[in-house]
């Protein structure tokens, strides 16, 4: 199989696999855990209500119901905690990259000259930890662009400034 790339000077292109990715802020794990805590508290309350009021008429299986929610909690915790280390980002001269995922790994790179605008936002729990989410939007169907959660606010602002300068220049 003749690979066309090898005819080009491939080695001169900057290689995405060679750059050093930066992990996101450790504090963000607490935000994730808090969020999971809230969601599963609601789920457990819901399960309790179903059990207590006998809504679905599965009195004898009520332990199974709790067990399902509990197993879901364990799986979510495992995926989120182990997967947390996989969340990494890198800003290069001309693009920004983000990789994540434990079972489903993705690496996304958005070149600056395709970016339409950059946004920083902050959830209520994140605010307490001074963390933000940086979102990057491109043109057209931009549902699947890049979104990095768990950045320290000051750093995110710096990245935003940097990207804005690159877009204008």
């Amino acid at each position: 199989m003749a690979d066309i790339f090898q005819n080009n000077t491939v080695t001169h292109f900057p290689d995405i696999s060679k750059i050093n990715f930066k992990s996101i802020e450790k504090k963000y794990l607490k935000v994730i855990l808090l969020n999971i805590g809230i969601v599963f508290t609601i789920l457990f309350v819901a399960a309790f209500m179903v059990d207590y009021k006998n809504l679905l008429e599965l009195k004898q299986h009520s332990i199974g119901l709790y067990l399902i929610v509990f197993i879901m909690l364990l799986i979510t915790l495992f995926v989120k905690i182990v997967g947390f280390k996989k969340r990494k980002y890198a800003v290069r001269e001309k693009d920004i990259s983000y990789k994540k995922g434990l079972f489903f790994r993705t690496l996304t790179t958005v070149p600056f000259n395709r970016i339409q605008h950059v946004e920083i936002d902050q959830g209520p729990i994140s605010r307490y930890f001074n963390l933000v989410t940086l979102s990057v939007f491109t043109a057209g169907d931009s549902s699947d662009d890049l979104k990095i959660s768990g950045l320290v606010k000051e750093e995110a602002v710096q990245i935003k400034e940097f990207i804005s300068n690159q877009i204008d220049g």
Partner: protein, 499 residues
């Protein structure tokens, strides 16, 4: 170019526009309330004389109200061209001012429905890639005005003005009626049937919602189930129903294709394609070359024998209009030479011949099989518990070979190849699709890998363009990274206009 029309001052559309707007308003009202009308006709005999008079009066008031409204819409609808912007004022109470820079215009399209054909006016639609709100529809312009407006809008680049005079008025391609029939007979009839069903189900829902509102839902459901329960017992009926559906499917393809693509003519003008088509609604689309993100050339075995294929053009879409099924621009019935002419126009000097095809990694086959095994497992379990009979497992004898056949076809048609500028992706199972994507049009690149893929060291490469995703599935990590890096390199060094 026609310079006789002056767009520097605010202009209204043709006076006939009032009629078009009026009928349009009435049509919308009828569409929303047709069921009420239907009920009204049903109870026609039960209504007393005096109520009739009130109804007539009510209808009259509504008609007059719409007429006044149509007149006001017409009166307040003004447009002009200024500093390479198209400016539009509209709105009766809430005034709306829209201004669109020329280079944001995606395409301009002319439309004529039956009424517009009768009174000889053209509807001009101006579409942008930006927000959905900026989409503009001028309901009635004379052909001369419409053409002049189109010319004024398409020439945003001053250099093009001189070139515009050398227009080749000879069409690139013209699809006659006989060829259209050929096209429609080779269409995907299953798809036509599904489309037809979607329309019918929409109808059914509208009716059943109404009956539900009137508390008569059960009556309707009973009626339907009574009539379907007899069906299940009769094999003869099922067979004749199948034949009936086949005929319906073919017929609906025929009607769909002829209505939409009647008299399809394509012109090439220096930087744009002009496409004219349609029977009841005449459509003309002007497609700017730079706005096309990627094209797909498709064919199927029968079409291939006849030497025809169709080309689908993908333009940038706005995230907001995603829900609305955006208009797909399609040229049907292309001969091979015409396909290459269009390719030459969109991607000049890009020759992909002589480059070797690259096939997905062996893992791709494993994944397809693995997914179908999963599908069969679920299907079997559900059906077994559904019918509580071991006989359901017999269907696997029929379905499994079909699946294997499709998977092997799919595998054979999946490949990718590329030169310095252009990526070509082959896909399809029964149909064959070839997608051409210039590297610099890509918005962002993704590398996707499941944990199983990671073990085998393969990955999917996903190109996100302004008009959707394009994926190369399961190629070796090494190649994936090369393509990834190369695409980024092309985007970041490209100076060309990408949308």
């Amino acid at each position: 170019m026609d310079n006789s029309e002056d767009f520097s001052q605010f202009k209204r559309q043709s006076k006939k526009g009032i009629l078009i707007i009026y009928l349009n308003l009435l049509y919308k009202a009828l569409k929303a309330f047709w069921i009420l009308l239907f009920l009204f006709i049903q109870k026609f005999s039960k209504i007393s004389e005096t109520t009739f008079n009130y109804i007539y009066l009510g209808v009259f008031v509504v008609l007059v109200f719409f007429l006044v409204r149509a007149f006001l819409i017409f009166k307040n609808f003004q447009f002009k061209i200024e500093n390479n912007h198209f400016i539009l004022k509209r709105g009766i109470i809430k005034k709306i001012n829209t201004s669109i820079p020329f280079d944001r215009i995606q395409h301009i399209n002319f439309k004529q429905n039956i009424i517009q054909q009768i009174i000889n006016v053209h509807e001009v639609n101006i579409e942008t890639a930006g927000s959905a709100k900026a989409e503009i529809s001028i309901k009635a312009l004379s052909f001369k005005e419409a053409k002049a407006l189109k010319n004024a809008l398409t020439i945003f680049d001053k250099k093009n003005v001189t070139q515009e005079t050398v227009i080749t008025e000879k069409p690139l391609l013209k699809v006659g009626f006989l060829e259209l029939i050929k096209v429609s007979l080779t269409e995907n009839h299953l798809q036509s049937l599904v489309l037809l069903f979607a329309v019918l189900i929409g109808f059914y829902q509208q009716i059943s919602e109404l009956f539900e509102g009137l508390g008569k839902r059960e009556v309707l459901d009973d009626y339907i189930s009574e009539n379907t329960s007899t069906l299940e017992t009769s094999v003869f009926l099922i067979v004749s129903l199948l034949i009936f559906f086949t005929v319906i499917a073919v017929l609906s393809s025929l009607v769909r294709v002829v209505l939409r693509h009647f008299n399809l003519t394509v012109f090439v003008k220096n930087n744009a394609l002009e496409i004219y088509q349609g029977l009841t609604t005449k459509n003309s689309v002007i497609l700017k070359k730079d706005k096309v993100q990627h094209i797909t050339v498709s064919t199927n075995p029968i079409k291939k024998k006849l030497g025809i294929s169709f080309i689908t053009f993908k333009q940038a879409i706005s995230g907001k209009v995603k829900k609305k099924q955006h208009k797909i621009i399609k040229i049907v019935g292309c001969k091979l030479a015409q396909v290459s002419t269009i390719k030459e126009l969109l991607f000049p000097n890009e020759n992909l011949e002589g480059f070797d095809k690259n096939y997905p990694d062996a893992y791709f086959r494993a994944r397809l099989y693995f997914r179908s095994i999963l599908f069969f497992l679920v299907l079997n379990i559900v059906l077994y518990f559904g019918f509580e009979s071991l006989h359901v497992f017999w269907m696997n004898a029929l379905l499994v070979p079909i699946f294997i056949f499709f998977i092997e076809l799919k595998l054979r048609k999946r490949y990718y190849l590329f030169n310095d500028e252009l990526l070509l992706l082959g896909s399809g199972s029964i149909e064959t699709h070839k997608t051409y994507l210039p590297f610099f049009k890509v918005q962002n690149v993704k590398l996707k890998q499941t944990i199983f893929q990671a073990k085998k060291n393969v990955a999917d490469v996903v190109f996100q363009t302004a008009s959707g995703k394009i994926k190369i599935p399961c190629i070796s990590m090494e190649n994936a990274l090369k393509i990834y890096n190369y695409t980024l390199f092309k985007i970041e060094t490209s100076q060309k206009l990408w949308m």
